[in-house]
């Protein structure tokens, strides 16, 4: 499922800037983030904690708590509309029906006092105005679809009667109950144990393939990205530092940060004697970032320009869209063979 440029993007994020006003100053959590998502595509967003992955996604659906958060610039184009300038009511109708979201922690994402079948049914009735009985029946169908055994009986159970993995399945059922075009999965497996992680990811991939739902998968696990995604955005300090297809990213990483991330993955063919590589230093404080490349202090290839000015986003020539935000590649005409 290689993406080609002639496919129309269903979601286009342009120059998104989101900040939080705190006592210490303005935290620029997301800075000039642009990407696009195509029908049926699975887009991975990777980055370490605090790199702006989640805030980017919350900004798309205008779910950032305001105040202190504020989406101060950019456009989110969906279905010919800019979600950032649309009315609250318009955005509300998009949420859940066209773009839905699942969160990190399935333990707290379900309402503890409402039966799961009812929670799914309510999501359906919210958008389709279906009769209670139809919605209930559809909720049971959804539970069956996501592989919950004995779905009719389980629909009348409360969330605490489900295991963590099952709850995340319920969240997925709820998110997909209205056949959205886009599913945003914000670290859907972080709170789950490893064996369940694989099941949940398989489920998301299969459902996406079946229904043609595009997925934005936020994760900090490059293994997950390699296994699931068609393309990837690597984020660092609120910026997308590299955007490429999965193959390009893993075989030919351009940004030193991406390279560092790939080098930090433990290898199965190592002797076990050498130390695991880690990127030296730690991510910068996002309050009052200097006019420099934020990765410059940790970058092994830092040049003089890096400390002086922020690198531009360079679009690489090639068969697939690819950008990198680094002085090393500025003005370079890079060919991906």
């Amino acid at each position: 499922m290689a993406i080609t440029t002639n496919v129309e993007a269903i979601l286009r994020v342009e120059g998104l800037v989101t900040g939080f006003r705190t006592g210490g100053g303005l935290v620029r959590a997301v800075e000039e983030v642009s990407f696009e998502l195509h029908r049926g595509e699975i887009l991975g967003i990777v980055g370490e904690s605090g790199s702006g992955k989640s805030v980017t996604n919350l900004s798309i659906l205008r779910l950032v708590q305001c105040p202190p958060g504020e989406v101060s610039a950019g456009r989110v184009l969906y279905g010919g509309k800019d979600l950032l300038s649309a009315s609250e009511e318009e955005v509300r109708l998009v949420r859940g029906r066209n773009i839905s979201m699942i969160f990190q922690d399935p333990l707290t994402s379900l309402n503890p006092v409402i039966k799961v079948g009812k929670q799914i049914a309510e999501a359906i009735r919210l958008h389709h105005g279906a009769k209670r009985r139809e919605a209930d029946a559809r909720a049971v169908d959804m539970l069956r679809l996501i592989g919950i055994p004995d779905a009719e009986r389980r629909a009348s159970d409360y969330p605490h009667q489900f295991s963590g993995g099952m709850r995340q399945r319920v969240m997925i059922a709820m998110a997909l109950s209205c056949d959205p075009e886009i599913l945003i999965a914000d670290e859907p497996t972080t709170a789950l144990d490893v064996t369940i992680q694989a099941q949940i990811l398989d489920l998301i991939r299969n459902l996406s393939a079946q229904s043609g739902t595009a997925v934005i998968l936020v994760t900090h696990d490059l293994g997950v990205v390699a296994g699931m995604c068609d393309s990837v955005c690597v984020m660092y300090a609120g910026r997308i530092v590299e955007r490429a297809t999965v193959d390009d990213l893993f075989y030919d990483p351009l940004h030193p940060y991406t390279r560092g991330l790939l080098d930090s993955i433990p290898r199965t063919d190592s002797t076990g004697k050498e130390r695991l590589y880690s990127i030296p230093g730690s991510p910068p404080n996002l309050v009052d970032l200097p006019e420099a490349c934020p990765f410059q202090p940790r970058c092994p290839k830092a040049q003089e320009a890096c400390a002086r000015e922020r690198p531009p986003e360079v679009t690489m020539a090639g068969r697939a869209p690819r950008t990198v935000r680094c002085w090393l590649h500025a003005g370079e005409d890079h060919h991906v063979s």
Binding site: L63, R92, G96, F103, N111, V113, L126, M174
Partner: protein, 278 residues
């Protein structure tokens, strides 16, 4: 699950039994009373309790049967306390949950209104309201209801503040739920426990408030009986005929006790922290 824990909880059970007894008395009073509760009987003034005359709780200074008046009065007391609590709870909870959910300036305005009401001692406020509205039965309900508004507002606001930060609120928003939907369908069920407990405690206090108002002559007007105005009229003859005060007093004390036990018991039963213990 809850009924079973209710049966195990002696406190709540005692409360329920007491309150049920009063309800039975009210039901009986619709069809049968030992004597006419308002008919003056000059031949039997201030008669001692006695099985022979049939006045088992005695008679008052107008010769009216005390038991009949207590039975008739229980309906008034219970209806007033139920309606007043319902009114206070509906208005107070609505104010509180919106204040808590919206936060910021709304929170400030709504809660300052509640604070103004809260600043007055409850009986004084009720008297004040009765003085403005006039002495009618439904005005007693309004007066007591107003007293309750800030209590319910505070409890529900606090409860909403603690549940609204839950991830499921954001999940519901990401599903396209509106503010009203989130508040009433997602958050309200989560804060029902403290509200239910407050309702049962408010019921008992409203019995006292109603009695106090009637005692002061602002509540239920004679000749119609209420426990409060029975006590009030007994004041003058209490030394001569103590039964005129003792029995209505007992009626009040037991119902208040019943509601209090019920409230305490419910709190134990519904408290999620104790869920796995019982």
């Amino acid at each position: 699950m809850i009924p079973r824990r209710l049966a195990k909880n002696g406190i709540a059970l005692t409360g329920i039994v007491i309150v049920s007894l009063y309800i039975i008395v009210i039901l009986v009073s619709f069809f049968w009373l030992p004597f006419d509760p308002v008919k003056i009987d000059a031949d039997h003034l201030l008669e001692e309790p006695s099985l022979k005359t049939g006045h088992i709780f005695g008679t008052d200074e107008f010769g009216r049967d005390i038991l009949s008046r207590i039975m008739k009065g229980s309906l008034v007391s219970l209806v007033i306390s139920l309606s007043a609590t319902t009114m206070g709870a509906l208005i107070g909870v609505t104010m509180g949950i919106w204040a808590g959910y919206l936060g910021g300036r709304w929170d400030n305005w709504i809660m300052r209104i509640a604070d103004i009401i809260f600043a007055f001692p409850s009986l004084l406020l009720a008297i004040f309201v009765m003085a403005i509205l006039g002495e009618k039965t439904w005005n007693v309900v309004i007066a007591i209801g107003i007293v309750y508004i800030p209590q319910f507002a505070r409890i529900s606001r606090g409860a909403i503040l603690s549940v609204k930060t839950n991830e499921f609120v954001r999940a519901a928003r990401s599903n396209g739920a509106s503010a009203i939907f989130i508040l009433y369908r997602h958050l309200l069920p989560n804060i029902l426990v403290p509200i239910i407990v407050q309702v049962s405690l408010a019921l008992s206090v409203s019995i006292l408030l109603e009695s106090s108002l009637s005692f002061l002559g602002l509540g239920i007007q004679p000749p119609w009986p209420s426990w409060g105005n029975m006590l009030s009229s007994a004041r003058k003859v209490m030394v001569l005929a103590p039964w005129t005060a003792i029995y209505p007093g007992f009626a009040i004390v037991f119902l208040v006790l019943g509601f209090n036990l019920l409230g305490d018991g419910l709190r134990d039963i519904l408290d999620p922290r104790l869920k796995n213990v019982g």
